[in-house]
Symmetry: C2
Subunit: 338 residues, 2 copies
């Protein structure tokens, strides 16, 4: 395959021999496992419920960026979404929409990243699909992953369980993914070593559930729209208020500087490795302690809490003593960030 | 939403308020169910294994065609793929990649079709995602659906169970979807009333498994690449031969004529409502009888059988007494058919 074709052709999406060759030489060889090796239309999984299911399509541009690529992102994104349900992700489907003309080595590199990332995350790619669209009708490659996993036996994740006083705890620095992508975009390039934070969060989630069970009320990963949008959504949905402490918000110097140059607020910028834990106040110290001992949570910090004082509103207490309402993001700040 | 915006904007993919509005007014309102109403990153499903899981991305062009649209196709396609595993589809994820500028009424029509089709198929849309890409970086709308379902207790579906003498039975006419799309494509329009056969097959599959259990060795739905590609794949995979009877192949007159005009062989043209049943010869008559009593199988017919005589080859016995090898499709015949 790789010798015969240097680029993806429309024929690779035909369902005929060219498709078969592409799948055999790149997909099946890379992911070989008992599910995929059957080459059927789907996979049979021996798994007991209750299950969590989540889906995400990835359209990030550029497809290769500092700290990762669209393949890695597609695994992390869905693994994390399943984890946010309080579940342990086990199986992923993988579906490509490839634009005609994508260099085969780039496709191969992305597929290899998916495989490597899935292995690290201990999830298996069990079924898939590959479509090819004409040049100019797509943009290099889009990926959908859909994940399923078993709900953690101690999980009782629900926004409705959030109470006054609940703590909002983050695992690390904000806005890194969005600013990494931004720094590589045409016309917006500037000197920076900002690296995407794309990573998996499910092992940390499992540890937290093992240790604290129902004391954890909600997990969220603030991707598109950033932390501000996620907290605004929750506040609106449950009719409680959020207090945020500006001083506590973890933003790396370089990211803060880049945001300032571009007039962006890190609160609205996408993250791909940030975990928001909403926990009962009684376990705050222990949660922080556990998180800080996990490599994915070493910078864990409490950034705010829930209140009944200003229902449905997120209010920021600024470093200099002021207060302001944090509105949700309206339109597009950074298109195609994930 | 509909009053404020006539077309999809990039901001509808931002993760902010515009996204929320689009989701609230079109997606959540349409699909409202206990899973989606939680507006979480995923759904919790109470389901017992073993499960079948299948995924498909749909990139058909045009998105509205005679007999259906991309929304219907996206439900049928995945429902059928899950059914082909010998399972009863229950839950679907739904993920859109929308090109900026898609008229909102078109988006709404597609979403409504998804809902209607899911209801008819008795599957629920439990989780989803919506991304927006810039004009010229996609093509109106692409849809991914991923389905899960419970394996039928009597199913023992596996190509390895196919034996010499097994019958190849079709539920109806070939090549209708491909030729319906073709007849609408720019530059290839001709007078025709050919209508896509897009439909669901899982209720028929369930009836067949209820009645015949392990006597059914394999189900396949010959979409991209057509019947020829599916049978070639199976023949190659299991090292047995396929005999096909040209006279028996069900092709409607108008479809046959259109294929002739365009120099296409209906054996290679995509179907979206064709079921291939590979059954033990001992139940052939009963299988045909059961299928013919189901509206999705009223034209059921045996078109061939498996043999050990020409391993891995599909051989067509022509109407005039000749024989020819049916090769698998090589490259692209009809791009973006599904």
């Amino acid at each position: 395959m790789s010798n015969k074709y240097s680029h993806i052709h429309l024929g690779h999406g035909s369902g005929g021999l060219m498709t078969r060759e592409l799948l055999d030489e790149i997909i099946f060889k890379t992911f070989s496992n008992p599910f995929l090796d059957k080459k059927h239309d789907g996979a049979i999984l021996d798994i007991a419920g209750p299950l969590a299911m989540s889906t995400d399509s990835f359209v990030v541009s550029p497809i290769f960026f500092k700290g990762g690529n669209i393949g890695e992102l597609a695994v992390h994104g869905t693994v994390n979404d399943v984890a946010m349900c309080g579940a342990i992700p086990l199986y992923l489907s993988l579906s490509f929409i490839v634009e005609e003309g994508l260099p085969v080595p780039q496709f191969r590199e992305i597929v290899d990243s998916v495989k490597r990332t899935a292995d690290t995350c201990e999830v298996q790619i069990v079924t898939g699909d590959t479509k090819v669209v004409e040049k100019g009708k797509g943009d290099k490659i889009f990926i959908n992953t859909t994940g399923i996993g078993t709900v953690h036996p101690r999980a009782r994740i629900s926004a409705n369980r959030i109470q006054e006083g609940d703590k909002i705890i983050l695992n690390g620095f904000l806005a890194q993914h969005g600013m990494a992508i931004m720094s590589q975009r045409e016309g917006l390039e500037f000197e920076s070593d900002i690296v995407s934070d794309t990573t998996y969060l499910h092992f940390l989630v499992r540890e937290l559930l093992d240790a604290f069970g129902e004391k954890i009320h909600l997990f969220r990963d603030p991707t598109r729209g950033g932390l501000a949008s996620v907290l605004s959504e929750i506040a609106t949905d449950i009719g409680k208020g959020v207090v945020l402490y500006e001083k506590a918000l973890p933003v790396e110097k370089q990211v803060a500087a880049a945001c300032e140059i571009l007039g962006l607020d890190p609160l609205y910028v996408a993250n791909e490795g940030v975990l928001v834990v909403i926990a009962d106040a009684s376990v705050e110290a222990e949660v922080l302690d556990l998180m800080r001992r996990n490599p994915k949570g070493e910078h864990a910090v409490t950034v705010g809490s829930f209140t009944t004082e200003h229902p449905s509103k997120v209010v920021m207490h600024s470093s200099i003593g002021g207060k302001r309402v944090v509105s949700p993001l309206l339109g597009e700040q950074l298109p195609r960030i994930c």
